[in-house]
């Protein structure tokens, strides 16, 4: 099974004329491959995720896949804020034709929201929303997971459990991880891409990708960076 992206192009019409966001993006992704995409704000990372998720159509080019592809993991926007957490789980379960009760049991266990699951989501803190969103994202077993800026989710302990769910239990899946957190992408991925000026370049070595990324975001080492010693008192 694989995902094949070919010559993807996305143009948005804006008030100031046409805005070319993605141009000639092509890659193939197999099961077990995790492609980390770096890029500065507005480089088109999230647009690429939306196109692959099928939420939006490309201007031209194709996305062919015999894998099932997730919505962006931990994306909380799909919640109905005036429904309870439980009703949101039921809704997603119905959309994907799954047993709601089983899914509820999993979300109860994983999100650790206790009786808050019976409250409307609009009363949740942002951390609680993130827990619910991640747990709901895990109830459907997709072949390919799309992950957009997940690093900001929850506290450290929850973070660890998310990592376990995604990268240990689902190590055999394909993933596309989009972030401007370079360390996260380095640790989790085995292939990398840097998105710049609507083009993408690919790397098998994170350090090479990171060097280019730093150049694009205009990061220059401060004077004496090479000699810098971190004190380990």
């Amino acid at each position: 099974m694989s995902l094949k992206v070919e010559n993807l192009r996305k143009v948005y019409k804006t008030r100031f004329g046409e805005n070319l966001v993605l141009d000639g993006i092509s890659f193939e992704l197999e099961m077990g491959e995790r492609l980390g995409i770096l890029g500065r704000n507005g480089a088109g990372k999230s647009t690429l995720v939306r196109l692959i998720s099928g939420a939006e159509r490309p201007t031209s080019g194709s996305i062919a896949s015999d894998m099932s592809i997730s919505w962006p993991i931990a994306f909380g926007g799909a919640f109905q804020p005036n429904l309870t957490g439980l009703d949101n789980v039921r809704f997603i379960s119905r959309i994907y034709g799954q047993d709601a009760e089983k899914n509820i049991a999993f979300v109860e266990d994983f999100a650790e929201l206790g009786s808050y699951l019976k409250e409307e989501v609009r009363f949740y803190s942002s951390g609680m929303r993130a827990r619910l969103a991640f747990a709901i994202s895990m109830i459907i077993e997709f072949d390919c997971f799309l992950i957009d800026e997940i690093a900001a989710v929850g506290d450290a302990r929850f973070h660890e459990r998310c990592d376990d769910e995604l990268f240990t239990k689902r190590a055999d899946r394909a993933m596309i991880i989009v972030s401007h957190d370079a360390a996260y992408v380095r640790d989790k991925c085995n292939r990398w891409g840097v998105l710049h000026d609507s083009k993408m370049e690919y790397y098998d070595d994170f350090e090479l990708a990171y060097a280019d990324f730093k150049e694009y975001i205009g990061w220059k080492p401060p004077e004496g960076w090479d000699q810098l010693q971190v004190s380990t008192a």
């Binding site: 994306f75 109905q80 119905r94 959309i95 077993e141």
Partner: protein
């Protein structure tokens, strides 16, 4: 714990997925609109019933000039229920896509499903209200039963068809331009007195008849009245006008829907 998403292919599979999605959206819509408080989803038809009863009482009390000596209760029930049916459908579909943009991240959910779920809900609410009030009025002797129930149903379905096509057209257009939302309210308000809800076409002077018969909804309302009163009143309607109009409106709606669905940008 979790299970894989079913990979349905082929026509049958896709229909199954769409049925599942629409029923999920339908239940979600009921919950978000009516909640679980007090009478919950029963507001779906209790609200239109209150409207219709209110209008019936008002028209009875003022002996509204409807240009004939037809029983006012049946006249008001048929007329006002029809208005609720065709007018609420576009009202619920305008802006529906914007409110549900985030759902586009689920690849099973199509733009059309959002509209269809809301239309089924509106149709259900208006129909239950109409049928329940009709039964209650007949049972209590306020109204004679309709002469020809099939004609009533036929007219009702044609009005629903008109309302659904108009709703999808307006809903899709409203995603392209905010003007639709602004203009719909005065438009629907002005169309109400012209829709035939409060008059019989035959009671109008000839020149006025010719004008109102250009309005497609008048034909549907007259057909419902034909079923109610039959020989007692002279209903004037032409299915040779209403059905082609509905077909053309549906085509326009589907073309616009396709245009919008191809260009939708989720937040």
């Amino acid at each position: 714990m979790a299970s894989a998403p079913s990979q349905d292919t082929g026509w049958n599979g896709r229909l199954q997925v769409q049925g599942r999605v629409i029923s999920a959206l339908f239940r979600r819509e009921i919950l978000t609109r009516f909640g679980r408080h007090n009478i919950g989803f029963m507001w779906l038809f209790v609200e239109p019933m209150l409207f219709t009863v209110g209008v019936t009482v008002l028209w009875t009390a003022t002996k509204s000039v409807h240009g004939s000596d037809l029983p006012i209760v049946a006249f008001a029930l048929a007329g006002y229920s029809s208005v609720l049916l065709w007018r609420n459908m576009p009202g619920r579909c305008i802006g529906a896509l914007r409110a549900n943009l985030a759902l586009m991240y689920h690849r099973n959910i199509k733009v059309a499903d959002i509209y269809i779920a809301r239309l089924l809900l509106e149709f259900g609410g208006a129909t239950i209200s109409f049928a329940a009030l009709g039964t209650a009025f007949v049972a209590s002797g306020w109204m004679a039963p309709p002469e020809d129930i099939l004609t009533v149903i036929g007219g009702w379905m044609l009005i629903a068809w008109f309302g659904s096509a108009l709703a999808i057209l307006m809903g899709a257009l409203s995603h392209q331009s905010e003007l639709v939302d602004k203009l719909w309210h005065p438009f629907s308000y002005l169309l109400f007195p012209l829709s035939g809800a409060a008059f019989m076409v035959a009671a109008l002077p000839i020149f006025a008849q010719e004008i109102v018969l250009w309005i497609p909804i008048v034909h549907g309302v007259e057909m419902v009245r034909d079923g109610f009163f039959g020989s007692e009143a002279r209903a004037i309607y032409d299915l040779g006008y209403l059905i082609p109009f509905n077909l053309a409106l549906s085509t326009a709606a589907l073309v616009t829907l396709r245009y919008v669905a191809r260009r939708v940008v989720p937040e």
